[in-house]
Symmetry: C2
Subunit: 254 residues, 2 copies
């Protein structure tokens, strides 16, 4: 690969007191991380903030200027603590308005499930001016896409359906390929040599992740990532050669 | 309670490419959230950043000036991608030095487990000048406490042991008490009335969390939080009264 790889970046903004209090355990960050990596978008940052307008607006403005996309989860339901739409409108300096299509979706849904389009439910039809709706095949009430910010629900099944809706429309970059090498050695025994390889190959990202091997005790997974398959193979081979050598030395000493 | 409650705040900074790539699913955020809530510290923000020095230093400096404490997880092992100690030193503008006690701990540990105190392992004895060590009863290599930043390991069992070490020394505030009320109603059916109660009681934090009830379908948990037990009881009773009334009206209509 000689052309410069395309790099598309993203941040996730999780909105909700319930995550910060520990009451609800987030299941969206890991899902979105896997999803974006698989389609060629680099997740660079995640923030979790409380249901506080100033905190949400600050985070939105900080993240949307730094990354290609910002995905928000949570805070788009029918209750007073659902203020994400208000905050996105404020961050972009646009009005928050009742969206005719969103109202039609809510009415159609309520005709099936029962319930009235009361003040609370109408909150879910308030969309920042200029945003496009993101369909919600699970429970009706839509998310929306405003500028480079994609606002999704917090309930995992709904968030996942919304991500499926927007994914085909996202700009994607050259995928970061990865290879995992099980070292069968302690991290501290191979770290010096691994650091030398990392320094010699700044174009590859090399991570080292210790884990406890039920059979052998402390062990290490080395993960090499690169957008270039050839470079990935070269660095992987170099690490495998290094591991052979270091382990031979260690067994000769011990 | 007439005295003003003490409020102690915290942020968590998760450091690691492996969380952002989706390869590793974070298990520390929820654990720390529960832990801090239980001891009277309000977790206000979480950030996840990659193994990138500028990103880590920026996040540290942003968070440590905003909250009482910052807890970091990850990046304190023996390999080249473990740069948290370097970044904490840089954020505080202090030197990163070999810490005699940390070296003694590593040596003692290696005497038991085998292995040499090589260049890689020596990385784990580099501590920002002025920081206090945080003992690691699981695997030896210590964390550290610098200013209001507490740097812990990323491996959950080690992080948890370190949190147990520092907890008795943390300043804690008046606990945020909470009550959960199962509405047995759809969020959209009770949202308007719940919003009115929230507006009338700004001293209580009222959250509304929809869930799917296996038996009855869409349901809602309403969570009331306050540092004052009496106020909590008053608001809880008001919400329960409202729920009775709204549900009676709904069943009369349908």
């Amino acid at each position: 690969m000689s052309a410069k790889p395309d790099i598309v970046t993203a941040a996730v903004l999780v909105i909700g007191d319930e995550i910060l209090s520990g009451r609800t355990k987030d299941k969206n960050i890991g899902y979105i991380a896997d999803y974006l990596t698989a389609i060629g978008i680099d997740l660079k940052e995640v923030r979790v903030v409380s249901d506080d307008a100033a905190a949400i607006v600050d985070a939105l403005n900080s993240l949307r200027t730094k990354y290609t996309y910002v995905f928000t989860t949570g805070g788009i339901g029918p209750t007073h603590d659902d203020i994400t739409a208000d905050c996105v409108a404020e961050a972009f300096g646009v009005a928050l308005e009742f969206h005719p299509e969103a109202m039609a979706i809510l009415k159609e849904r309520l005709a099936k499930t029962g319930g009235e389009l009361n003040e609370a439910r109408l909150r879910m039809a308030r969309i920042p001016r200029g945003a496009a709706l993101v369909a919600n095949k699970v429970s009706g009430a839509p998310g929306f896409w405003m500028g480079n910010v994609i606002t999704m629900a917090g309930i995992p099944a709904v968030m996942q359906a919304m991500l499926d809706e927007v994914a085909p429309k996202l700009k994607t970059g050259t995928k970061l390929l990865s290879e995992t090498i099980r070292a069968d050695a302690k991290e501290g025994d191979v770290g010096t040599e691994l650091g030398a390889i990392a320094k010699a190959h700044p174009e590859a990202i090399i991570g080292s992740y210790p884990f406890i091997d039920e059979k052998h005790g402390p062990n290490t997974n080395i993960v090499v990532r690169s957008r270039d398959a050839e470079k990935l193979a070269v660095v992987k081979a170099e690490i495998e050669g290094m591991l052979e050598k270091v382990k031979a030395q260690l067994s000769a000493v011990r």
